[in-house]
Symmetry: C2
Subunit: 449 residues, 2 copies
């Protein structure tokens, strides 16, 4: 990879563009401005759109909109990516500074090295290669999100009012993983996601656990009981109505998912423990591709320091998220969880829902579509093994919105690997992966026109 | 209260003597040295004893031993108190600096203002008054603990080897509360306490909750399920064998406890929520005086910042404590809880017990003892309402050990009130309370000889 692209990649990574944290708004704006300059040099007209700020909420990071007209009547490609990243914490577990890209043995270590600054920028470098080639004809539109990691609220609100601006034939997204061994994979479905914060409040202060043990209710104990009520002992979800509307996969989808899902032993080696999440009796492919989840992303209450502090905490807070599958309504699923928890609020305590983001539904794509056949051909040229179809357990919530607003057929192909540790400390992306994503960008645009 | 004693009280409070935190060892040593000087001026021979350090553990704060011989053949009083305090966090909730004593409307706000620097020092000021009086005859021994808030491990190890040094007729302790309305109260029983830390480990890193939701077990969810299993829906403890050996109170004890326990409505006004902790169907007096507890003092796992971070946490940690009642063996109760939790360790995860302190058992005292009759007379002179007997839900673990080593009859009388907020932010102690504790110290020593 030539020095220029690598230097640009590192510049992009150094912005601490944590879109979810208002404290990093300025970093997000600087990052978006850098992208505007970069795209401007390629002949794009670029605009940073600052969405309407919701009352009482922090101003969201801007969305980068870019457009470059091609030949008359040529097809239009809409490229979607996001420049926001996950928070870096726990920072103490990083072996290198989380926002200082560090190249070790052909891998770049940095928050966002993969997700999604790395994959998006590699694809954009491929687009630059395409534009430098012979007679590029495509019309290209680009949308770079600043809130993908926290639900894309702003872009989701803007998109429906931008139908003409977003109209395209195909939507290209590089924000997912290849199959194990870097075998190319086309995403045929994504789970939806929603998240919220639970706050359970008990006594008006932290209490002495001797003086008040047996007197005061304990929010840490109460929240534990609430969270425990969400699942049955077999790991299935115990929330009435949560599964309403779920459309089971077809036989073809299920067998394609089985073919692209890592083995139990590969999973165990990856995560360092038995892959026993989800409902017993279902296969890994079923659990990651076609089953919903309710996860505790964090729980905090009371004392956590060294030694003992024998208190009854005044409150307990849990960060929660849900992954949704085709047929599930985010609104309906959240309402079911809310009712389930409120009905079980422990006596003497107050339960509050905060930071509620009902997100967007899952989506599935027809395996036999023309754009999938075209992509399969291109990926077959890149890798003799050919492409697999996969149903990514992860979510790109805004894709449903953009698909609706643009009328484009989504083509989601990424080059991540589990060792990239996205969302974890020491996230990384190899130059080999970067090269694949870049080559894919060039080749698919050439194939489209 | 004269300036001298108040100035000394403030000096003592400024030491950040958090005995449980190795980072504050030096503060504890400085605090103990200050006490040595103070007692030396009263003619005590004083020694700071640094207990044997357990391998691998941080050096514990010293224990202050002091002795002053009185008249030949006069009785010996052993005064116990502790100079260590609870950690100050959450520091953000303090209205004044936690270690800068601040006098507002006759109340001193500071960590340790009551528990137990304040109550102990007030009693010692009373002792100074006694020694300044006519012909004090008593032999006085003093033990000031530096680890009471974290289990008194060091003193508990030292005491059995110091029987001659500790031998006394009566043991005086000022570390508890008066009945509501400052009515004098004699402690007839204390609950035992034990504490430990639980660590549940799952995947080798925080994982993306989409990529791995349905694959990886979730330690935050798993720990919630473990903690929820500790109690039945009616609030009773669900751990088999935990209640083995419990000796129920006598009718006399129960009615005395009922008489000295605040009403449900007073409790609710104090803690700001319904006092519905503990087992349904038992009275407040039963639940605080004669029933054991298992409490979650803190739980921490995964993300806790603003917005969302959709991870499956790598581990979850809970700080736990238990209050024990007469007849319960700390060793047996802990073993029962350990077995209960280990038997339920969620699949795919590892459960570890850390910082285990099995503490000491509860103790009860015979209501008809001579020392109680003497104390009742003295307290009757101080307050026309006379003294109540109470069974304090809190614990002074080392008292059982000192009682055994010294052969002394414990006389535990304190002047705390719930508004003192011990163990909470904005702990305080009023000058009126300080004066009562001081007067009690002088009067009881005079009555003893």
């Amino acid at each position: 990879m030539e020095d220029k692209a690598l230097a640009e990649y590192f510049e992009l990574l150094r912005y601490e563009s944590v879109g979810a944290d208002p404290a990093h708004l300025r970093d997000c704006v600087s990052c978006a401005s850098w992208l505007r300059k970069w795209l401007g040099k390629l002949g794009f007209s670029v605009e940073l759109v600052y969405p309407r700020q919701e009352p009482g909420s922090a101003p969201p990071p801007p969305v980068v909109f870019a457009q470059r007209d091609g030949a008359e009547g040529a097809p239009t490609a809409l490229v979607y990516g996001h420049y926001d990243v996950q928070p870096a914490d726990p920072v103490s577990e990083w072996k290198t500074p989380p926002f200082e890209p560090t190249l070790v043995d052909g891998r770049v270590y940095c928050r966002g090295a993969n997700d999604d600054k790395g994959q998006t920028f590699a694809f954009l470098c491929g687009m630059r290669d395409y534009l430098a080639g012979e007679g590029p004809k495509l019309n290209i539109k680009i949308v770079l999100d600043g809130q993908e990691e926290s639900g894309s609220a702003a872009l989701s609100a803007l998109a429906p009012e931008m139908r003409r601006r977003l109209a395209a034939d195909v939507m290209l997204v590089c924000d997912t993983s290849a199959a194990p061994g870097m075998r190319p994979a086309i995403v045929a479905g994504l789970r939806g996601v929603a998240h919220f914060t639970l706050r359970l409040t008990g006594p008006n202060r932290d209490l002495h656990s001797g003086e008040y043990g047996g007197v005061s209710p304990n929010p840490a104990q109460g929240l534990a009981e609430l969270l425990a009520s969400l699942h049955h002992p077999d790991g299935s979800i115990a929330v009435a109505g949560f599964r309403d509307g779920i459309e089971p996969p077809t036989h073809e989808e299920l067998s394609a998912a089985e073919a692209s899902t890592p083995s139990e032993s590969d999973c165990a080696a990856d995560i360092g423990c038995d892959p026993v999440g989800g409902q017993m009796g279902k296969t890994l492919a079923q659990r990651t591709s076609f089953e919903p989840t309710i996860e505790v992303n964090g729980i905090h209450s009371g004392y956590g320091g060294p030694g003992a502090k024998t208190v009854i905490p005044s409150e307990a807070v849990a960060k929660m998220s849900m992954r949704l599958v085709p047929g599930q309504s985010p609104r309906g699923a959240f309402a079911a969880v809310r009712t389930h928890l409120e009905d079980r609020c422990p006596k003497g305590m107050k339960l509050e829902f905060e930071e509620v983001n009902q997100g967007t539904p899952a989506f599935r794509l027809p395996l036999a579509s023309p754009v999938f056949r075209l992509a399969a051909d291109v990926l077959g040229e890149m890798d003799g093994r050919g492409a697999l179809f996969q149903w990514d357990g992860a979510s790109i919530p805004v894709l449903s919105v953009l698909r609706e607003a643009s009328g484009a057929a989504p083509l989601v192909v990424g080059w991540g690997q589990s060792e990239d540790r996205i969302h974890s400390p020491n996230e990384s992306y190899s130059l080999v992966q970067f090269g694949k994503a870049r080559e894919w960008g060039r080749r698919i645009l050439e194939a489209l026109g």
